[in-house]
Amino acid sequence: MEWFDSGWGLSLVVFLPLVGALVLAAIPRANEAAMKWVALVTAIVTFVVSIVLAMRFDYGAAADIQFGTNLPWIDAISANYHIGIDGISLPLVVLSTFITLLVVIYSWEHWPEPHNPKLLLALVMILATGMTGTFVALDLILFFVFFEIVLLPMYFMIGIWGDTSMRVVPVVNWEIELRLYASIKFFLFTLFGSAFMLLGFLALYFKSGDVGPNTFDILQLSELGRAGVFTGAFAFWVFAALFLGFAVKVPMWPLHTWLPDAHTAAPTIGSVILAAILLKLGTYGFIRILIPILPDEARRWAWFIGVLAVIGIIYGSLACLAQNDVKRLIAYSSVGHMGFVMLGVATMTDIGINAAIIGMVAHGLITGLLFFIAGSMAHRYHTRDMNRLGGQMLLMPKMGVLLGFAAMASLGLPSLAGFWGEFMSLLASFNPLDGLSLGLFRTLMVLASIGTVMTAGYMLWMLRSVNFGEPAAEWLDDHNLHDVDKFEWMAWAPLVVMTIAIGIYPKIVLGATNDAVVNLVNKAFGG
């Protein structure tokens, strides 16, 4: 297994889906069954390989980079194919392959219009490569490439299979198809952010030349960052550039407005991937790149990150309370939940960053499940309007129970996965990193915990409108309303099981992350 541990294993996880996409491209359009099987086998194999990685992972040395390799790639700019994972990236890699597999299973019999499974599955496969690639990349250029690879498939997914209803854009008063508006908005926002991010990367590359050979290597740059090479105005501008790039992706308030539109417009599997994985690319960037490379600047601006995070929590929750559209509500709830993740990051402590990672995993599972359910509901009811829905517990009891479960998980019910991230980031903000304002962070803690009340408020409100009461007359004889089907069960049950499992035994995630996080914080801020 030497070959496996020295880079091949990880490379397989990253590039198998791409191979799958190529194979898909070669299959004739008419042969749908073959496409599905190719996609499924690819997803299963990728997932299995990632599980093998998780089993072979040395948890005693979770702080070290494992399974890595470092090969020359573009000599001209000394960009390397440097990959590897530690305890921070491992859970996210597994989460990505896991969600990809579930998405393929769900797609088996749920094709959004216009049909075209070939292209859709190929896009899912390319997305998978981009996502896992981002989590394993240890070279800034490699990171950037994977980060950007994700962009196009998602853009197509929203633009082609998205919601075709018309949306009137306020302020400028256009009337435009929602899928077009949302896909362009998603694309431009992210591109805007990545342009700055790339600038920041390049700046780091050239600056690193001051003390040795120029490098894009994240680990080497982290060493330099710790040694105090990046300081002063330079550090500030680089920080600002990287911050923009990552914050758009998270998204942090006030850069979040692409998210409700993208989620609402996207087809079900698009929303699931977007919520479950894509948002984590941003937070992962904060943890893997921003804090280690620019620790002093991160510490200086921690208050700013914390304040934006808590604004996101409160603001997202309030926006949810005003929603009548189920998918939009879940989308705004993501703004709130990612606020908790970023609050954890902002504390710059081991507890806070652990909270952020377990929060990311939990959000991936839970919001993924919520979007699956919301998508299936919209497919059956042909509406997402909560005012028209109601009595789902009578119409489709299993769907109702699952929605209830997901809502409870989402509001952070202890004993389910969502609790740990939320509670621990509150815990961390009582005692943030030395030197950060105690008064401010403790105020943020109180405000964020008021946010948990509002989260409960809109989730219960949604359950009341959708699940309870008597169904309206229009649904009583609707033959579309069949309860959860076989493929939905197969895609959703694993999410339910994992949500409970992590809730009861958080070591599934923390066992990998804790040492790595403690190490990261100690290195960045001195232990």
Binding site: P114, E148, L152, Y155, G159, I160, T164, M166, V169, P170, V171, V172, E175, I176, E177, L180, I184, F189, A195, L198, L202, F206, W253, P254, T257, Y315, L318, A319, L321, T349, D350, I351, N354, A355, P414, F419, F423, M424, L426, L427, F430, N431, V446, S449, T452, V453, A456, L460, W461, R464, N467, F468, G469, E470, P506, K507, V509, L510, N514, V517
Partner: protein, 686 residues
């Protein structure tokens, strides 16, 4: 990984040297080591019922009741051993580490938790048996028992918790299962709203619980209760600095679950659930959680150098609750609501007792109250079952039709109002005596406030119970159903509970036996109590006549009358309208907080989001569109079709769109490549 699943056993280093307080206790042996079964069995049974309940012969009832019987028997055995030799044991398994903190699930076996195991098991078992009859034919019979089992299981998770995290987990499990049970008949939005109200009120209070737990854990450096106490003793904490805030915040959490003023609003509405739910919720589970939390942290609250004067706040809040919430029971027509406000008031007694340092008296009242209040609720349920109405105006004269229900209800009433020799007499008078003792040793405002309102509360309790009994059981039947005695499966549990309500008081007769005190003071940390040695007989001779007078007056004022108008004749101006509107507290929450938040505030935020925050990108997009249109006339190939399609507002077909989008890709690639080149060039130059 599996190695971490083996229990980490804590054997207590007894603290007798430091405090001079002897705790005689063993570690309980295998009995204590296997006590985790008490928690796990009901929780596992919940899942079994969800998956297999509908196919099982008893539709889930059998499994649920077996679980409770198991807990009751195990609890009773533990209680017995604890009385013989004392048990102090703490087991835990590690479930993760976060920074320096170890996260654990565990189980505490000591006097306090054993008392709760026993109580939850016995009351739970009897209520589950009763529910078989009461819920017969219910649309969601199996689901009901699954939630009910989770409800009890959550409570056991809570009381077995050796650390604050597990306590929070149990706390919220109880919360969510109560939500399911209260909203059991969710076809009607009123019930759903009642469930939401319970959940949300508790969630607000939970902010206090979370923050309190965080402050306490971080300043003491541990989530474990036993470690927190040890560090308090050895002075290794910064708890002195934050103790007041930790104590206050945790108490706010306790106020939510234990329905203390001003968080009491959810409890009366929780009557929307089926009656067995009310019986269990008001007795052994849920509402006792707050009292339990304060009792668990009692050593902390008793030390002013850590908790400051949170104790006084506890006593005052408890006293306000016991007096003013009792008043609200006076005007209710719904028999369950009378009992609900009565529960709020009795919880006030327990909380006030904790506040004045009467640990075992407060817990004793918790213990006896669990029996007589669940008895009263089940009795009310039996009546409701018979007359198909919750309203006392539809009852009357039922003692003739339902003798078993009537007599057990009378025993419950005797216990509640505190008549000799029923259970409530002993526990309530001990609370008053302890309060008086504290007040005379250390005459603070809080202590005297508590004593005076406690005595006043005794009057009110007797008064509203006299009214309820008279309207329900005396006079002539005024409803339209055909009242009948309930089946055996319902009356037998009533009799079981009645036996406890009648005799449980003898567990702790001052001067004769101190079984209960010995029971609950087996703790790893010494309990320093402010209780009087025995009852205060002069006080008893003041309180008991007051109760008798209140009963007489109440019974006479609400004596059987001919017409509804006559029945309604007794009112007190100003006060009665105030009581009927529940002091306008519920209205204030609704109109002052919830509606503004869900209305203007939420709508305003969304408006800002769409019109202001989003204006920048939209305007930029708008500008780009115009530029694009201009450029487009020059060169069709530079700007792709997407914006055109958009501006034309046509429903593009998938095929056309794909083509347009593909054009976009090439440009994106070209543009970003150009961008990279330019940026790289800039960097090279500078």
């Amino acid at each position: 990984m599996l190695a971490s699943l083996t229990p980490l056993v804590t054997r207590f280093a007894f603290l007798s040297e430091e405090s001079g307080h002897e705790v005689h206790a063993g570690d309980g042996g295998a009995l204590a080591q296997w006590a985790w079964l008490i928690v796990v069995v009901p929780v596992v049974i919940t899942f079994l019922i969800v998956f297999f309940g509908k196919k099982s012969p008893l539709k889930g009832w059998g499994m649920a009741t077996f679980g409770m019987a198991f807990v009751a028997v195990y609890g009773a055995v533990l209680a017995w051993v604890n009385l013989q030799e004392g048990i102090l044991y703490e087991g835990a398994i590690e479930i993760g580490k976060i920074g320096p903190f170890a996260l654990q699930w565990g189980w505490v076996v000591d006097g306090l938790s054993i008392m709760m195991y026993f109580l939850v098991g016995v009351v739970g078992f009897l209520v589950f048996v009763y529910a078989k009859g009461y819920m017969k034919g219910d649309v969601r019979y199996t689901w009901f028992f699954a939630s009910f089992s989770l409800f009890a299981g959550g409570m056991l998770v809570l009381v077995s918790a050796p650390n604050l995290i597990q306590l929070i987990v149990g706390w919220e499990l109880v919360g969510v299962s109560s939500y399911l049970l209260i909203a059991h008949y969710w076809e009607d939005f009123d019930n759903v709203d009642a469930g939401n109200k319970a959940f949300m009120t508790n969630k607000v209070a939970d902010v206090g619980l979370f923050i309190g737990a965080i402050i306490m854990a971080l300043s003491a450096g541990s989530f474990q209760f036993s470690e927190i106490f040890e560090k308090m003793l050895s002075g290794q904490t910064s708890l002195a600095q934050f103790g007041f805030w930790a104590g206050l915040a945790l108490f706010i959490g306790a106020m939510g679950k234990s329905a203390q003023f001003p968080f009491h609003v959810w409890l009366p509405d929780a009557m929307a659930g089926p009656t067995p739910v009310s019986a269990l919720m008001h007795a052994a589970t849920m509402v006792t959680a707050g009292i339990y939390l304060v009792a668990r942290l009692f050593p902390f609250y008793q030390l002013p150098e850590f908790a400051g004067n949170v104790n006084a706040i506890i006593a005052i809040i408890g006293a306000i609750t016991l007096f003013f919430m009792g008043l609200l029971a006076l005007t209710q027509d719904d028999i369950k609501k009378v009992l609900a406000y009565s529960t709020v008031s009795q919880l006030g007694y327990m909380m006030a007792a904790m506040g004045v340092g009467a640990y075992s008296a407060g817990l004793f009242h918790l213990f006896t109250h669990a029996f007589f209040k669940s008895l009263l609720f089940l009795g009310a349920g039996s009546v409701i079952h018979a007359v198909h109405s919750n309203n006392m105006s539809d009852m009357g004269g039922l003692r003739k039709y339902m003798p078993a229900t009537f007599w057990t209800f009378m025993i419950g009433t005797g216990a509640l109002v505190g008549l000799f020799p029923f259970a409530g007499f002993w526990s309530k008078d001990e609370i008053i005596a302890s309060g008086y003792h504290t007040a005379s040793v250390d005459p603070t405002f809080a202590a005297w406030f508590m004593v005076i309102l406690s005595i006043g509360g005794a009057f009110i309790t007797a008064f509203y119970m006299a009214r309820a009994v008279s309207l329900t059981f005396f006079g002539d039947y005024t409803g339209h159903a055909h009242p009948h005695e309930s089946p055996k499966v319902m009356t037998l549990p009533l009799m079981g509970l009645a036996a406890f309500a009648a005799f449980a008081g003898f567990l702790n007769v001052p001067g004769v036996t101190d079984v209960f005190i010995r029971w609950v003071t087996v703790r790893a940390f010494p309990i320093v109590e402010h209780h009087a040695e025995g009852l205060n007989w002069p006080l008893v001779f003041i309180v008991t006549p007051i109760v008798l007078v209140a009963l007489t007056v109440g019974f006479w004022l609400f004596r059987p009358k001919e017409t509804q108008a006559e029945r309604d004749a007794f009112t007190i101006p100003v006060l009665y309208p105030l009581f009927e509107h529940k002091f306008y507290i519920d209205d204030f929450y609704m109109d002052g907080i919830i509606r503004p938040t869900m209305g203007p505030l939420a709508d305003g935020t969304l408006w800002i989001d769409m019109n202001i925050v989003d204006a920048v990108p939209n305007l930029a997009g708008g500008a780009a569109k115009h530029v694009a249109a201009a450029v487009n006339t020059v060169d069709q190939n530079v700007v792709d079709g997407v914006f055109n399609t958009a501006s034309a507002g046509t429903g593009a077909t998938g095929g056309f769109l794909r083509k347009a989008l593909t054009g976009r890709v090439q440009q994106y690639a070209a543009m970003s490549f150009a961008g990279v080149v330019i940026i790289a060039a800039l960097f090279m130059i500078f």
